[in-house]
Amino acid sequence: MSEGLQELFWILIFPGFVFTVALGLVVSWVVRKVSARVQWRKGPPLMQPLWDVIKLTGKEVLIPEQANRMVFIGAPMVGMAGVLLLSTMLWRITISHSAFVGDIIVAIYLMVLPSLALILGSSASASPHAALGASREMKLVMGYELPLVLALIVVVIKAGSISLAAIAAQAPIASISGVLAFLVSLLCIQAKLGFVPFDIAESETEIASGMLIEYSGVLLALWKIMQAMMLVALPLFMVMVFLGGFGTSGWPLVWGIGKYLLVVVLAVLIKNTNPRVRIDQAMKFFWVFCGLALAAAVVLAMVGNAYGIGWL
């Protein structure tokens, strides 16, 4: 009984829902503030993301007449459940080292769930703009999953284990193949978060928010919360996989927060200094350039492993 309560506490309060949402709202403020400073603007106040969510919950919910109601309402919850599980899992591995073998594979699956939910929700909303956004998102998912998995293979070869706790104990970034894998997966994370060079699926100026176009009120708030939670989970995943993980006390904790913020700010800077690419350009970029770079990285990592050369 008490163990069940403990599990519930983990999922709902501390590393889970409440904590992740609160942290996610703060990080999405950081994203907006840094973007504003880059553009020489002042930027929104700290409470702005929270006010946005509160306001959206107070608005009317409109559901299109021809939409599939069940899928339309269920999709944001599916996406949120995926990110919630991912975030809880990563934090628990960090805090209590309660890992299981192969959790990196579970993490890969959970990271696809928000994109799948977005595709489901937008296809259910019976809007041509949303359909266009969904088709673009589908292509984008196919584009970035291949390089991301290849980058994780580099890490697995380096660490010699498919357990996240073992991978987080070392930093593959201190090698040539590790740097290549880090850079490419940073761009994949960019695409997963829907940040600018790869925000093709919800480009405001051409298809008017694309996938989310028909969502309003509480349902839109759920999507916004999901995106905020992804801002917590995905950079944390990057820190654990490439940069040697998060400490739980003292200087390692401060250092861990520094590494986390570094990943977030890098993503924001890429977002603010690049124009949006077309979907065919994005596919070509991910499959040809990133794919080749990572094939080279995998070979380097295997050679380094076979001959015991750490820096390859």
Binding site: A36, G43, P44, M47, K55, E60, L62, T205, I213
Partner: protein, 143 residues
């Protein structure tokens, strides 16, 4: 004051509707997002879909072609929402008064479908960005 209205004031997402304006007001609206005025300081953000919007910035005399679209967009916006009539044309049809193509002004068209709509007026040809910010402030203090 209800929490819904308070949150609406803290975070206003606007959707821009052109109902036959000469593009002058539209340029001044976009001016609000530039570093000089930066309305994101107050939580005001331009969004691409009326479903996400809390305020409609309507510019232009409402032409016969644009009127049904304006009604449609207003009905697509989740309530509570506020309508801002930006510029002399939107406030009272301006120099196009009694033109053959004019069915506006904006408030007349909106009130036809929702008599209790909240409508704020920002006159000027075009209104300065400062005037629009002051219009928002006045509307918020009246709500």
């Amino acid at each position: 004051m209800s929490w819904k209205i308070k949150a609406l004031k803290k975070s206003t997402w606007v959707f821009h509707v052109n109902t036959g304006a000469c593009n002058n007001c539209d340029i001044e609206v976009v001016d609000l997002l530039t570093p000089k005025f930066d309305v994101e300081r107050f939580g005001i953000k331009l969004v691409g879909s009326p479903r996400h919007a809390d305020a409609l910035l309507v510019t232009g005399v409402v032409t016969a072609q644009a009127a049904p679209r304006l009604r449609e967009v207003y009905m697509q916006t989740p309530k509570p929402c506020v309508v801002f009539a930006i510029g002399a044309c939107a406030c009272g049809t301006g120099i196009f008064h009694k033109g053959y193509h004019v069915v506006g002004p904006v408030d007349k068209i909106i009130r036809e479908i929702d008599p209790n709509a909240i409508i704020a007026y920002v006159p000027g040809c075009p209104p300065k960005p400062e005037a629009m910010i002051s219009g928002v402030v006045k509307a918020w203090s009246a709500l």
